[in-house]
Amino acid sequence: MSEAFSFTVTAPSRGVGATLSLTRGSVLALLGPNGSGKSTVLEAIAGILPEAAVTPAPPPRVALVTQRGELFPTMSVLANVAFAPRARGVKRAEAHEMALAWLGRVDAADLAHRRPTELSGGQARRVALARALASEPQIVLLDEPFAGLDLESATAIRALLARALKGVTAIIATHTTLDAHALSSHIAVLERGHVAESGPVTRVLTKPRTAFAARMAGRVLLTGVPQREGILLTTGELVRCETEAVAQGAMAALAVQPRDIRIEPTGLADVVTALEPHGDLVRVHGERLAADVDPLAVPLPQPGEAVHFEVTATHAAYSV
């Protein structure tokens, strides 16, 4: 029942070469920063990118909901949603009935007779989703479905998606771990057009194996040789942690949350690269580590300043 299949997408002109594994009936999150090639991968699978190649060929019915929704501006909302059934030869009246039902499922039935230009961002996103689902796709592709939406609409549409995507094979491109946690079972982390790491969401986000995946998960990755009292980094520094779970002969890794890291007079030496607001704290990024700092309690370091980071909580290391 949970049949797995995979695609390799290549678009050399855009620096993309990525293999994605999907499980039929479940959602894959494609996590990556802006410019990592998420849209290119989705557009390639949707078959609307002539310069890209996908092997093996995707199933014939794939529906992509692009970031801007891109409804047909000359048609009513109803005609937009009825488009795919009509294109497949369903009679006009019947297609309109189907479209109304799909609009109902995304709480947008009252918008049926509006023009796309008369919709808010959130409404347009709902209609675009209904149009995609109405095509009865074998794979649904969603490109940053919450980009540009206010918090309220984004939350509402996320809840709606969680409902609508039950049992649907889908790929969601996103740059936040929230979407991955809320909507998907598996994740692929995209770094400059290539998959850096992939696997079940919890595994990849809590026990990442690459520094890039760790950064996307909002964690700091420390790797080294396991010792009884911690792991020995290549720099010769020791970080205290539990190492019982590390397999014999394997390298050990530790994915620490910046809230469990402090700036101290001694510890792991680093140089500050950037400061980033993080709730009521400030995330101080170094070249190797990062720490969440309370700006009211501690003077903020400047970029370029030498600091020492200390891991405060005791974590469990895992093998990599």
């Binding site: 014939p60 019915r61 891109e70 488009f83 294109a87 095509s135």
Partner: protein, 261 residues
């Protein structure tokens, strides 16, 4: 919008408007208003006007049917010959109409490239009403091609990609997605093509001749009457002027304005 216009430019704009408006005023001063009704309803005038209207309408439809596909091809083709092809297709825009008429004769005339073929089929195009339509289509086509090409190039083919993704055939995609989006541009192109066709003179005279009721359109009738009965020529000129101005005023809208909504 006008508030940023440099003052010297306003002066030049007035000069430009004068150049166009003064000759029109000149026509108006020469019209013999007491005789105007009789002059424009004379059998000769009505025949010429009727022929002009019919041929220009058919030519405009022909421009739509072949000009839109040509503009589409030019907009989406990716060849280094594109610029050359565009220049050739738009040549009638800059070619003296007489040269256009001669070129048509060399292609479709009795001794032209395709003349023998048509002859064998028992068809003679030159000096027939069909020749009038062809001459008008020849000179008016660039307007349709240009407006279509720029409209398609401006909007891209993204919507078409999405329609194809949802399983629409190429023809359905064109009919349901491309065509409705092109309507404002097509309206503009149609008006320009019609206006150009109804004013056509040189190519028509060369390729179709001036046979009353068959090929003598209003511009040709004006040219003929200019020697015999200048009053009738002026009256007919005014009618053409009114038709052209009315059509453009009613139907022509700048492209960018409407496409935004």
């Amino acid at each position: 919008m006008t508030s940023h216009l440099p003052r010297w430019m306003a002066a030049l704009a007035v000069a430009g408007a004068t150049l166009v408006l003064l000759p029109i005023a000149g026509v108006l001063t020469r019209v013999d208003w007491s005789d105007f009704g009789a002059q424009v309803t004379s059998p000769q005038a009505l025949t010429a006007l009727g022929l002009s209207l019919r041929t220009a309408l058919v030519a405009t439809v022909a421009c739509l049917v072949i000009g839109v596909p040509l503009g589409y091809v030019l907009a989406v083709m990716r060849s280094r010959w594109k610029a050359v092809l565009r220049a050739l297709v738009l040549a009638p825009l800059v070619l003296p109409p007489v040269v256009g008429g001669l070129a048509l004769l060399y292609a479709f005339g009795r001794r032209g490239l395709l003349g023998g073929t048509f002859e064998a089929l028992g068809i003679s195009i030159a000096f027939s009403t069909a020749a009038v339509v062809m001459a008008q289509t020849f000179v008016a086509l660039p307007f349709m091609v240009l407006t279509t090409e720029s409209a398609i190039a401006a909007r891209g083919t993204r919507q078409e990609s999405i329609a194809r993704m949802y399983g629409a055939s190429r023809t359905r995609t064109f009919a349901w997605v491309t065509l409705p989006a092109l309507l404002p541009a097509l309206a503009a192109g149609t008006v320009l093509a019609f206006a150009r066709a109804i004013g056509e003179f040189g190519a028509t005279l060369t390729f179709a001749g001036s046979l009353e009721g068959v090929t003598r359109t209003a511009p040709l009738e004006i040219y003929l009457q200019r020697e015999i009965d200048p009053g009738a020529a002026v009256a007919l000129s005014l009618v053409l002027l009114i038709v052209a101005v009315a059509v453009v005023a009613v139907a022509y809208r700048p492209l960018t304005r409407k496409s935004a909504t």
